[in-house]
Symmetry: C2
Subunit: 426 residues, 2 copies
């Protein structure tokens, strides 16, 4: 996500009368980047202009792990035991998914993300090119991967290899804000042979990798039984642990494994809300991981297991979980939690802070609201607010939401309602 910072032909954007870290200021964005910050900054003829009165500017948030199109399956089988949920709801519905379903489901997700302050995300789902098309139409920034699953069968994996390359090339055609990636689902659904092939492709083409890792205790035990090593060692052997890898979850990593991920420069996307909902028991040990130098991002996971894409909601659970787990209310303070949610604790995610020369992915938040009075930022956002206080979203210097309105919302809602009704047989 850090590699593409130029939105092309967008006119410059000036944001006036806003506060930044509590101080009144203005910002001007040119060619997708922040060009000037200061009270003396004014709009030039031809600029787009936003009046930020009553609002604070902050970095757009980065959702480090999601399956955006799963909005289609939001609320389908909540509160069921895990295997019954997967076998009777999610998997049958996903078997009927058409590429256009994924397009519209992703469009709905982009609207929800923008309405809650997220300007970029890391996605893994079926029909990646349809995801990319939806992201391009939304104006957001994303790392997009197609799910790859061969059920542990190397022959099935080999047969799918050309499709992976086709997907990557199609995803890459949707403009500079979209980065194609490889999406091997997990070590328990992909054969070591396919994982190794993907490690080679990632290195050769410079592609990011997005994979689930050590989400449940069961998958760790199964890996040891099947392969004689724990999941991180297996991925490392396949060449999949590097500075362009996002591993989702990491709930059952031990200290040696945290050190390995730190050494390789891997980013872990923690998803505490999804983990709690699916009752994984243990959650990624963020304080320990940061002490050991692991890069971290915050994800919502898909809306079938959350069921929201509001990172300003999840960032509170993230911070509170670790305070309680450590017995120390001073652990994971609001500024650190918000930095993680904005992608600033991972070079790969590449978000925040707001400085001249950085990409202009910004949101404006209503600090004059009931919910944020009289609390100072950033605690107000982390503990007091949810995403509905986000008024405006800017990606690569272009306004993609103003006054909480994302163009095209009514059409997207209608499409998703129709398609979701078709996919749900219960």
């Amino acid at each position: 996500m850090a590699t593409h910072d130029n939105a092309g032909t967008t006119p410059p954007l000036t944001i006036t009368d806003v506060t930044l870290d509590g101080t009144p200021t203005a910002l001007r964005c040119v060619n997708g980047l922040i060009d000037a910050i200061g009270p003396e900054v004014t709009a030039q003829p031809g600029d787009d202009v936003i009046n930020g009165s009553g609002m604070a500017v902050m970095p757009g948030l980065v959702n480090a792990h999601t399956h955006a199109a799963m909005t289609l399956l939001r609320g389908y089988g909540d509160d069921l035991p895990l295997m019954e949920w997967l076998q009777t709801r999610i998997w049958p519905a996903e078997a009927s998914l058409e590429p256009d379903d994924v397009y519209w489901g992703t469009r709905l997700a982009t609207i929800e993300m923008l309405r809650s302050g997220t300007t970029g995300f890391v996605d893994m789902y079926w029909h990646g090119p349809s995801v990319a098309r939806a992201v391009a139409d939304s104006g957001m920034r994303a790392v997009v991967s197609s799910v790859f699953i061969d059920g542990g069968d190397p022959a099935r994996g080999a047969a799918q290899r050309s499709a992976v390359i086709d997907d990557v090339e199609a995803i890459g055609s949707y403009g500079p804000l979209i980065t194609p990636a490889l999406g091997p689902h997990a070590m328990y659904t992909v054969s070591p042979e396919s994982l190794e092939w993907m490690g080679g492709v990632a290195a050769e083409r410079g592609l990011p990798v997005h994979i689930h890792l050590s989400e449940t205790q069961g998958e760790v035990n199964d890996c040891v039984a099947a392969h004689g090593v724990r999941p991180p060692a297996l991925l490392d052997r396949c060449g999949l642990l590097g500075a362009s890898t996002v591993c989702a979850h990491g709930n059952w990593l031990n200290h040696d494994e945290l050190d390995l991920l730190a050494e390789r420069g891997v980013t872990v996307a923690t998803n505490p809300v999804s983990n709690l909902k699916l009752a994984t028991g243990q959650i990624f040990d963020h304080p320990e991981a940061r002490r050991r130098g692991v890069h971290v991002g915050l994800g919502t996971d898909g809306t079938a297991s959350n069921n929201s894409l509001d990172l300003l909601d999840d960032v509170k659970v993230f911070a509170l979980w670790h305070k309680n787990a450590t017995g120390d209310p001073a652990v994971l303070p609001a500024d650190e939690a918000l930095a993680v949610a904005s992608g600033a604790c991972s070079p790969l995610l590449g978000g925040g802070p707001i400085e001249v020369g950085r990409r202009a992915d910004l949101v404006l938040v209503r600090t004059d609201s009931v919910e944020m009075t009289p609390s100072p930022l950033p605690a107000a956002l982390v503990y007091g607010a949810t995403g509905h206080l986000v008024d405006t979203a800017v990606v690569a210097g272009r306004v993609v939401m103003a006054n909480r309105v994302v163009p095209g919302t009514d059409e997207v809602l209608a499409e998703v309602r129709t398609r979701a009704a078709r996919l749900r047989t219960h």
Copy 2:
């Protein structure tokens, strides 16, 4: 809260074109109660009328434990160790509190609660009559208690007794929606002599009691050391455990104590978000408590330790915590979680369901929103939404918020900003 169901002179209210449990219908409210429900119900001349198109009607939520006026101290010393936070921030600021500060802080809280679907609450704070005046001006329903603390000194307690009676009588003068209560802070801040006196007054006057109980492991250990018994036994000895008692927290109750509370008909107000933020370690064992027949409500606690009053946010944490703690995603399903949040799992709180003859405390929620598409209720609300999808709030048949606008908000915000600035010396 269940004792006063008549709002007096409010004109009847008809809500048209709304859905109830997924079915299109209409409702009419007369004299503070639900008078008729059904698709054939129409407005009569002179009725107030709300068009509920695109919205679902649900019971207003009941915040079972809060300190509403602490909006004044929201965000004051977040992320500090507990004793440093209390000693350098909260207690010095509270020492400077004037009755009018409490009035305006409570007003802000009532606006925030209405904007997130809460129509009733159980409060404990200084200057109870000022709380009651603010609640009356908001149109909400509340059980209002003044905090009582004698620092374990029976003489100091005896000197304060007439003030308690004065407060109760003043609180009771603010109309039928406000129930005065006794607010002994906790067994570790009030002498057994004062607790016993309060048990007598509660019985004699039929007053509810609102008290903190077994929030931290430390207070349980201290109680055993000081009194030779654990906190519930001490309260029971003082006559404070009964069907009109709300005990906040209950994190460190054992199974015998859950049985005692069930037998006495006590309501426990669980506050999972506050507990996580203050790192109490263990959280009230709701699934076990329900199995043993304990009445339960959901609270936010004060905004200095949450920092939000949005019960639709907290109800998600409530459900998810117990799923993960039990290792079972089917535990505490959405309908049960929402029933707890609406006060329906405690006769004392007395909320929900929506039936003819019940009190007309209702909210309308935007089911046509991005965040609730295409998910069915109640999971959509519990897992997918936060309070900002609440459009309209009705208390005792009277509209107190329409289109998310609560009259007087600007004045309240201005007052709170000024007063909060005065109270905060850091």
